[in-house]
Amino acid sequence: FRALSPGCHLYPFNVTIRTDKRGTCRGTQLVYACVGYCESSAFPSRYSVLLASNFTRNITSASRCCTISKDAKIKVRLHCPRGRHHDMEILTARACRCNMCHRSRY
């Protein structure tokens, strides 16, 4: 994943789906992720934060993360033996935005 400019951008990649380990039915579809570089900073915590955390959290981190702001389902056609096929839906990103980080707390 590389998109070396600030901001949060659509990034294309291929997804390959197989119905089982032997790949009886399979299909490939181009979908989009969101990849980017959003601003974040860390600085000394205010006294109220120090008090509330019993002086353990002396750093405050204020961040935004590159997230999918709009998604959509798209159809993937899986090709099976004997010319049969099977359709399924998967998610793709449609728009991206520097927004709240959710999973950075752990």
Binding site: E39, S41, A42, F43, N58, S63, C66, L91, C101, R105
Partner: protein, 106 residues
């Protein structure tokens, strides 16, 4: 050389000013080293629940030293010392709630 902050990618030590204050004392303006930057974050659709995989790293302190100052004009019952972290090294990393107040803004 002058760093172009609009184009900057990565996580670096940056000057930061704040007002150190606690109840019972006057405030003291402090200029110190903190962290600022843009770290790589992404969200991509995946086939299995929860259907979105994310990678969230924020620019935060990697190595610190503690600095203690004396706040002016404290009342007799208030201890005048105020301790805050100084960034020696900053890095993209997870926001650790054990040491950090993790806040996120839209």
């Amino acid at each position: 050389s002058v760093l172009n902050l609009k184009r900057f990618i990565g996580c670096a030590v940056r000057e930061f000013s704040f007002l150190a204050r606690k109840p019972g004392c006057s405030g003291l303006h402090i200029t110190t080293d903190a962290c600022w930057g843009r770290c790589e974050t992404w969200e991509k659709p995946v086939l299995d629940p929860p259907f979105i995989e994310s990678h969230q790293r924020v620019c935060t302190y990697n190595e610190t030293r503690l600095e203690t100052v004396q706040l002016p004009n404290c009342s007799a019952d208030m201890e005048p010392s105020y301790t805050y972290p100084v960034a020696l090294r900053c890095d993209c990393g997870v926001c650790l709630t054990s040491t950090t107040e993790c806040i996120t803004s839209v």
